[in-house]
Amino acid sequence: MTTAIVTSELVKAFGRVRALNGLQLSVKTGEVHGFLGPNGAGKSTTIRVLLGLLRADSGRAEVLGADPWREAVALHRRIAYVPGDVELWPNLTGGEAIDLLGRLRGGLDKARRDELIERFDLDPTKKGRTYSKGNRQKVAIVAALASDAELLLLDEPTAGLDPLMEVVFQDVIDQLKAQGRTVLLSSHILAQVEKLADRISIIRQGEIVQTGTLAEMRQLTRTTIEALTRQPVTGMERLPGIHDLEAGDGPVRFAVDGEHLEEAVRALSQFGVRALTSHPPTLEELMLRHYGDELAAAGEPAGDVR
């Protein structure tokens, strides 16, 4: 089997809100798949359908070769899940919650559990109601990662973590990847998944609007460059793929299409570069590009996006 998750034409409506609108998602076995989209795009809904917690109105979903709604329990032995909003039982400690969830999945690796608790710097003796958001999240992460699940569905797992813990998290996910496990990692911030994800799917209003490797996507987008040079920069506007150029007395700024990046940097170096910063495209910019296409297709002025 080469695909861990396939969905086709998935539709899920809550009353008048169409949370999923013909979603086509495909996640290959053994990859870390970034699942990106703004708040309310339908990430959590997708994951809940994949877990059989919600039933799709129409369309098909297949997880590890099975129908998640009909074979939920059997599937769940092979899946670990971190919810987007982790709620713990007020009068159970974090340690108890981890054990309970692990045992209900069919057992957990005690040594690995203790190691993860240590690495995430979690105090397992505190009662659920006393944990901060970040610590509640850690409890769910430890419970999920201490299992030997083949597939991990992680819904914005790092949203409440501090940068230090995010590094630990990335490290642990890297280990899992090396072991050949499949991870679906959702986020609304590109930076949180770009270090980990082999491929990315971008969801907007219940539809996947782009799928591919980050490099492929970057090809299609622009990098913003800001540079301080010894001599005033001239003639950049004649190069292909340059946009939004600001070249005055101060630093020079422009955006450049991925495919023309090399030429732009070469041209810039002739003016004696003293300082250079480049910003890879953010999720917003990746998304904006899509909006731009849509607007252009609709025959409206696409503005400076195009």
């Binding site: 877990l51 919600l54 899946i79 899940y81 919810p83 709620e87 340690g95 108890e96 209900l104 105090d123």
Partner: protein, 552 residues
């Protein structure tokens, strides 16, 4: 923004080593207004609700004090051990509507005023600290004691308003001005005491709920001390006077009203509030005096299945209900002889207790048993609602994402509730039976009352089934079960007296068990009820398996 605030700050200037006295209260006025704004619905609802309740009691009781026979009935509730549950019983030798309302129903108003005050103070002090909002507010120009002071000011104002309002209701119904105000003030005084007590308990723990639970325990203890004291001696013994509730009873409105006992209430309110301030000055924002206790690192080995998980989460509630109902069963079981004395009993009450003078005691015990069963029904419905809370709060989601089926998860809840119900009825039945056996010197009551309590289990299981069905089919409507429960209680108490038609009585699941121990257990009815309960629960489980998990 920040600079404006610092500029306005009265005395955080350089060199001011300690805060000036006034600074600790800075911002109190604004916080008072803020509290009033946040509670603009809640507070009037409490006050008007209590005023309405008093009006209802006055009008209802007026119907019950018309004839000498009726007054004899009421006397039974106001004297002896039963009377001591409600109060010392002033004015019972010549019962009037206002004396009865103040002397018996007064307890409800004391408890309500105490709850209103303790919830209010906890909500605006500890709860604010617990969720971090107090930190935000206190970083502005708000003094260290401002939160507590503002909450106490509002609580005091609410209780004064309550006193005036209740006095007004009394007067409006034509029950004397000064004594009405005295009753209102007695109720308000209880509120003030518990505002003060809560000002103290919120300092002790980090959790608002623990603080309200502590203050609630003080309330329970105050009631127990007063009730025990009043049982020892007519019109109260020295022991009674250790309870703040007694002080409010001892004002004796409509008998020979006196105001001075309320000085004790004011004194206690002041002392507890002062202690609260003292403790508050010795701790950090958000901290408690007692550090939160650490719990277990690992889960107990038995905590490994949906069933044991449901038990673990329901355990505290099950134990609490069992203890409370056992205590009340013991109390009511022992009171039988006194309450079921046929001398001077009205026809209505004889009807309620089974209709025959010869079996009055069994009839009384039957009513008590039915009442206990309905209370057990409350526990069962609350249990299903807590499963629903698990679902909507998102705590069921990670569990159902493990290898736990919907059947196992919800079935675990239902099993724990059903077994818990049976175990509870068994224990409460034993306790009631032992108390009755001792009071009557007749050992057979132990078995009879245990069996009687268990005979009600199938009816309550039907309630559980109904709640389970709603959980699966229309979870928003689980509350409908409350109506069925309330209706069953109504039928149990008044069905006979009001001559309700058979079909109307049969709508109550509790009715089909009859009135054990007065009636024998009917096996066909038992089996039918159990089958209905099982069918309802199964339908609920199937429906839950088919619907979406709802998280908010």
């Amino acid at each position: 923004m920040t600079t404006t605030l610092t500029a306005e700050a009265p005395a955080s200037g350089a060199g001011a080593s300690a805060t000036r006295p006034g600074d600790a209260l800075a911002g109190t006025g604004a916080l008072v207004r803020f509290i009033l704004r946040r509670d603009r619905i809640k507070l009037p609802a409490w006050l008007l609700g209590m005023a309405l309740l008093l009006s209802m009691f006055l009008n209802g009781v007026a119907e019950l004090t018309k004839t000498e026979e009726q007054r004899q009935d009421l006397l039974r509730i106001m004297e002896g051990a039963t009377g001591a549950i409600f109060g010392p019983g002033y004015g019972r030798d010549d019962i009037t509507t206002e004396r009865y309302v103040v002397g018996v129903y007064g307890l409800f108003f004391f408890v309500l005023a105490a709850l209103m005050s303790l919830l209010l103070v906890a909500r605006h002090t500890r709860a604010e600290e617990q969720n971090g909002r107090a930190e935000l507010v206190r970083s502005a120009v708000v003094g260290r004691n401002a939160h507590l002071t503002a909450a106490l000011v509002v609580a005091a104002g609410a209780n004064v308003a309550l006193a005036l309002l209740l006095g007004g209701v009394m007067a409006a119904n034509g029950y004397g001005g000064a004594d009405g105000l005295l009753f209102g003030a007695s109720v308000g005084a209880v509120g003030l005491v518990f505002a003060g007590v809560t000002a103290l308990t919120v300092q002790v723990t980090e959790y608002s709920r623990a603080a309200t639970a502590m203050a609630g325990t003080v309330l329970g203890a105050a009631w127990a001390v007063r009730a025990a004291g009043d049982m020892i001696e007519d019109y109260g013994s020295p022991l009674s006077w250790f309870s703040p509730l007694a002080w409010s009873n001892q004002t004796r409105p409509y008998v020979d009203g006196r105001w001075w006992p309320l000085l004790l209430s004011l004194g206690l309110a002041a002392v507890t509030a002062t202690a609260g301030y003292a403790l508050s000055g010795r701790r950090d924002v958000g901290a408690g005096l007692v550090a939160a206790r650490a719990g277990r690192t690992d889960a107990a080995p038995w905590l490994r299945s949906p069933l044991t998980a449901a038990f673990r989460l329901q355990r505290t509630g099950l134990i609490g209900w069992t203890v409370a109902l056992t205590a009340s069963g013991f109390l009511f079981g022992g009171l039988g002889e006194q309450v079921a004395d046929p001398a001077n009993m009205s026809e209505d009450r004889i009807d309620m207790f089974g209709g025959s003078v010869d079996t009055l005691l069994d009839g009384y015990l039957g009513v008590i048993t039915m009442f206990t069963a309905v209370l057990a029904g409350i526990m069962v419905v609350l249990g299903v609602q807590s499963a629903r809370t698990e679902e909507t709060k998102g705590r069921a989601e990670p569990v159902l994402a493990t290898a736990t089926s919907r059947w196992a998860w919800f079935g675990g809840y239902l099993t724990v509730l059903a077994l818990g119900l049976v175990a509870m009825l068994l224990i409460v039945g034993l306790a009631t039976g032992i108390a009755a056996a001792v009071a009557e010197s007749d050992g057979s009551y132990v078995w009879d009352l245990t069996a009687a309590h268990l005979a009600h289990a199938p009816g309550i299981l039907v309630m559980l089934g109904l709640a389970a069905l709603l959980f699966g089919v229309l979870p928003r409507a689980i509350g409908v079960t409350w109506a069925v429960l309330g209706y069953s209680l109504f039928v149990g108490f008044f069905g006979e007296i009001m001559d309700l038609p058979g079909w109307a009585r049969n709508l109550s699941p509790v009715e089909h068990a009859g009135q054990p121990p007065l009636d024998d257990v009917s096996w066909p009815a038992t089996v039918t009820l159990l089958l209905i309960a099982a069918a309802l629960a199964a339908a609920g489980l199937v429906a839950f398996r088919r619907r979406d998990l709802e998280t908010t």
